[in-house]
């Protein structure tokens, strides 16, 4: 039973960088010429599937089935009371293309994603490098940077709501020191989305910092010593050594940041409810509104299909194109 034993002992929690090596190891173990009979191999398969079963059941029930049901539902009308759902073909998609709020939500979401993602990543990297250095009060700084992550978004949003209140809110109080007049931050169509972007960056940067910090601490000190001997500047070392070595982490962070920018809408529900006049409505918030306020479940399903396709396309392109260009040890 060496095969099974080895498979079970194979550590599952290894870091991304070691993955190719350990995967090769698994292949080597599995293809080792064996003298086990057909019956034992059969048992191995059954055992394997049984081990996968709990996870598979959860995945199918809560991820795959809903996704497929959503896709099917988008071709039917919304059942109302005594009227059952009927097949309507592409009607829902037609309505979606004609819906200006859908386009606005999509546009808002793209602006939101393209500004939160780079800002969060740069800030996370900057904070990680800062607290990786040897300085006094390092643990305190790490804790401070990480705190926003552990607070629940609903609570955070309620606090930020008051930060942004015109006149006596924190934002206006700080700006008034520089002579900037009070501004209705969340009530102005031009500034509302920016305010939400700031909250998202503040909330996520600390979380991603932890991943960068972990990666930095795994980096061998020999590299920096060698670079110092060769006379490389710190910036040169960061650009040519640290940053490339952090690429796997950056990929991981990037994927999470993109998912977050489409997934997290709690602060919108608390702070603006998509207003003023839909300027802060993101795709998922609009889906919530259509599904659970308008009870137009078929139309909500149609919008969800768009969101799923968008996310799937982005995840695939990242794994296919970016993954090739990332240097693993």
């Amino acid at each position: 039973m060496s095969i099974e034993g080895d498979l079970l002992r194979e550590p599952s929690g290894e870091g991304g960088r070691q993955l190719p090596r350990s995967a090769a190891h698994v292949v080597a173990v599995a293809s080792r010429p064996s003298h086990v009979g057909l019956g034992a191999r059969w048992t191995t398969h059954v055992n394997g599937w049984l081990l996968l079963l709990p996870a598979a059941v959860l995945l199918v029930t809560f991820t795959h089935y809903p996704a497929v049901a959503t896709f099917i539902g988008s071709f039917f009308s919304t059942p109302k009371g005594a009227r059952p759902a009927v097949f309507v073909g592409l009607d829902n998609y037609q309505a979606m293309i004609e819906d200006p709020i859908f386009w606005q939500a999509l546009r808002n979401n793209i602006i939101y994603a393209t500004s939160t993602i780079p800002l969060t990543i740069v800030l996370a990297l900057f904070m990680a490098v800062a607290v990786n250095a040897k300085l006094v009060g390092r643990s305190f700084m790490r804790l401070a940077f990480f705190t926003p992550t552990v607070l629940p978004m609903i609570a955070v949003a309620n606090i930020w709501l008051f930060f942004y209140s015109p006149g006596y809110g924190l934002a206006d109080q700080v700006l008034s020191l520089f002579g900037v007049p009070a501004h209705n931050w969340l009530g102005d169509e031009h500034t509302a989305l920016v305010c939400l972007i700031v909250v998202a960056v503040w909330k996520d940067a600390g979380f991603f910092m932890i991943f960068y910090l972990a990666a930095l601490q795994q980096m061998s000190p020999h590299l920096s010593e060698a670079a110092a001997l060769e006379g490389a500047s710190r910036w040169y070392f960061f650009r040519r050594v640290t940053f490339p070595l952090l690429m796997p982490t950056t990929l991981f962070v990037l994927i999470n940041a993109i998912i977050n920018s489409f997934r997290l809408v709690d602060h919108i529900i608390v702070m603006t409810r998509g207003g003023p006049n839909n300027t802060t409505s993101l795709l998922l918030y609009y889906i919530y509104e259509v599904g659970f306020k308008f009870w137009d479940t078929a139309f909500a399903a149609t919008l969800t299909v768009v969101l799923l396709v968008l996310l799937a396309a982005m995840a695939l392109s990242q794994f296919v194109f970016l993954d090739r260009r990332i240097h693993y040890q």
Binding site: G81, S165, Y168, G187, P276, N277, E289, K293, W295
Partner: protein, 424 residues
């Protein structure tokens, strides 16, 4: 020996169960977060009711906000386990009818006493509870919009601290005196009419004063582009952009009371449901008044009704009627109003000794009641949330200056007509 104990226990349970089965259990969805003071009041009522009516059990389920409660009730309905009774927004009446979720009260009210009970509420509250000649909701926690003013600020501005602006022109004139500027900064605004979340509701405080209605009783037509509606919106926008006595852009509903306490605004419009909050937190003497008049006077009603869900057995629906009647008795309506700040829903509740005493001690409590004779139904149509969103978007666009009031209301009307075309 353990199995023996289990066996005996099982037998005892089996013997006892017929008595349990005779009890009627009513599930009751109520829109409040678990654990607050309101929960305790409701739990107390349910316990008292059970004591007086053996054989009926009330299972209160605290479901969060109105929106959460509606979502939970309709989801439960779709999975075949609807609640028996629920308190939901009066404006969700058409949604609940269209979802085939609720049943009208009329067929269940057989005796003369029952019929008299259904007529005992303020007519203003029944407007959002009846359609097509049937009663679908019984008023329970209802409110209107009132105007709160800071008496200190009035005194400082040289105004009579005991007299609120009584009409639109006075509101502007007072507001100009109350707005305090230093340079480009405003340290105190004249008035704030909040415009997030449900701006249409506060807007109805303006349209009603301009003697115009926003929809028909059947909930199939809206009148957003009528000249009087546009005029009301222009007045609202002008408070900010022309008279400059109100902040520009949308004003957050949730922080408006805080603005009032912080003296950032001298006058605010908000629900009567905030009365207890203001009474506790305002660090200055304040007054409560009806909304200012223009061509007429008035405010929309708001708040929640009792609904009966379908698929109830006959003994359950009889028990449900009994419970709702008990909850809306004059003494209880008075007690509920005093404890929460909601308006007691029937005139005879205001004649009870407890309520009379309360009004003597705190006359502001009676303002909302007196305003009821001018009150109208809150905007409610078929596909309600979508129609109100069309109006809300238009209002926010106008307040932000991205559309003129005229254009905003014409667009909103066009969108509402498109949504409602299938309900004619």
């Amino acid at each position: 020996m353990k199995w023996l104990a289990l066996l005996v226990g099982g037998a005892v349970l089996a013997l006892a169960s017929p008595a349990v089965a005779a009890d009627v259990e009513l599930s009751f969805y109520y829109p409040v977060a678990v654990g607050g003071p309101i929960t305790k009041i409701i739990d107390g009522y349910a316990a008292d009711f059970e004591k007086e009516n053996p054989g009926i059990k009330i299972k209160a389920i605290y479901a969060g906000t109105y929106q959460d409660t509606l979502v939970k009730a309709l989801t439960a309905l779709k999975s075949g386990e609807p609640p028996d009774i629920a308190v939901l927004l009066s404006t969700d009446m058409f949604t609940l009818i269209d979802e085939d979720a609720v049943t009208p009260f009329d067929p269940l009210l057989t005796s003369d006493a029952d019929k008299a009970w259904a007529k005992s509420f303020y007519p203003a509250f029944m407007e959002n509870s009846q359609t097509g000649g049937k009663t679908w909701g019984i008023p329970f926690q209802r409110s209107t919009i009132v105007m709160y003013w800071n008496k200190d600020a009035f005194k400082a501005a040289g105004l009579n601290p005991d007299k609120a602006p009584d009409n639109w022109d006075e509101l502007v004139a007072y507001g100009q005196k109350l707005t305090k500027r230093d340079g480009s900064n405003v340290s105190q605004w004249g008035v704030e009419i909040p415009s997030t979340g449900f701006p249409y509701w506060l807007f109805q405080g303006l349209t009603t004063a301009n003697s115009v209605r926003l929809m028909n009783d059947a909930g199939t037509e809206t009148y957003f582009d009528k000249p009087a509606v546009i005029e009301a919106l222009r007045y609202w926008v002008d408070l900010s952009r022309k008279e400059k006595i109100q902040p520009t852009g949308t004003i957050e509903w949730g922080t408006t009371p805080k603005d009032f306490f912080e003296r950032k605004t001298a006058i605010m419009w908000t629900t009567t449901g905030n009365l207890t909050n203001v009474k506790t937190n305002a660090p200055f003497p304040f007054g409560v008044a009806m909304l200012p008049a223009h061509n007429g006077r008035g405010s929309p009603t708001g708040g929640g009704n009792f609904y009966l869900f379908k698929k109830m057995t006959a003994d359950k629906s009889a028990a449900a009627i009994k419970f709702i009647k008990w909850m809306t008795m004059p003494e209880r309506a008075a007690d509920w109003g005093i404890k929460t700040g909601y308006i007691a829903v029937r005139p005879d509740a205001w004649e009870t000794p407890a309520m009379k005493q309360y009004v003597t001690d705190f006359p502001a409590a009676a303002v909302a009641r007196d305003q009821l004779k001018y009150a109208v139904a809150e905007l409610s149509t078929h596909d309600n949330q979508r129609v109100t969103k069309a109006l809300n978007d238009g209002l926010q666009a106008a307040l932000n200056g991205t559309k003129t009031p005229d254009q905003a209301m014409k667009d909103a009307q066009q969108e509402a007509a498109r949504i409602l075309r299938s309900y004619k």
